[in-house]
Symmetry: C2
Subunit: 143 residues, 2 copies
DNA sequence: AATAGATGTATGATATATCATGAAGGTTGC
DNA sequence: GCAACCTTCATGATATATCATACATCTATT
């Protein structure tokens, strides 16, 4: 049975959480995807990362990050200015509108997490996190 | 920190597992994606499901299943025959080539799971699965 | 039997994931 | 200085996810 396979349960849980979280953002009338929100948030907290470094933090590859940044820029949630000392890169800055959206999403994200974790104790989530980290490491090729 | 957020760990673990699993299938020279494999496997086990029912089992929506079935059919891993009693549907059958690929992937999938769960006890995986199911239910709107 | 509603499938639009590659800029070693 | 290499970013191709919708067909009701 598929239902007995751990990775099926993992996939199922994260997909349902993403659908739930996105639906709540949509319902609040905020026009942003979870992935865009995640990247925007990372840029706000640290505006001197390369696309590859951003990708490492949000677990996306550089190509995905590039396209998300393009969308965020087109939607004016982000601006890119030339950097004098390196012609390849740009300085990314979250705009006022971007900040407004981050602020609006924040309470929704907190509420989403709380609802999703209802019935789980601190120890439950700690152990869950530890097991997930172990799986991650098991699947990561040693350099 | 993102790393303290449970859903970040969840996303990270499942993504890394999928990359790991797909890389091992690719390395074996088998031309199929994990998602295609999953759908093909469900059809083998039960060849009278609608696309929506298949989607329910593999946690995809009907549109995704339709496109995966089209690819599997184009690659001749699956054939669709008209059903006399219902002009909307077709009878899906896994071809010999499809069966060959399922057989080739099977030991790789078992090995992937074993490696990914290295260091986790039976109780660990059981508890993990139970917590994931709880999260799923928490994120599922009550009808 | 005709019609309204339900079901099954296909597909368009947009977003993301992955791999590969191209193009431009930067760094190092000589 | 320059050649080889590395880094950064953009983009094409393909696969999947999601929502909406179109279309055909089936079912139920009258």
């Amino acid at each position: 049975m598929l239902s007995n396979i751990l990775f099926y349960s993992l996939d199922k849980a994260i997909k349902q959480y993403r659908r739930f979280a996105q639906a709540n953002i949509d319902r609040a009338g905020i026009a942003i995807t979870i992935d865009q929100w995640l990247v925007l948030r990372v840029i706000l907290e640290n505006d001197d990362l390369t696309q590859t470094e951003i990708g490492d933090r949000v677990f996306k590859d550089q190509a995905s990050v590039a396209r998300i940044i393009r969308l965020l820029t087109e939607r004016s949630l982000l601006v890119a200015e030339a950097l004098p000392h390196d012609g390849r890169r740009t300085q990314l800055r979250v705009t006022a509108e971007g900040q407004r959206i981050l602020d609006a999403v924040h309470p929704i994200v907190l509420s989403n997490r709380q609802i999703a974790l209802r019935g789980l104790s601190e120890e439950d989530t700690a152990q869950l996190q530890q097991l997930l980290e172990r799986i991650y490491l098991n699947c990561t090729p040693q350099p």
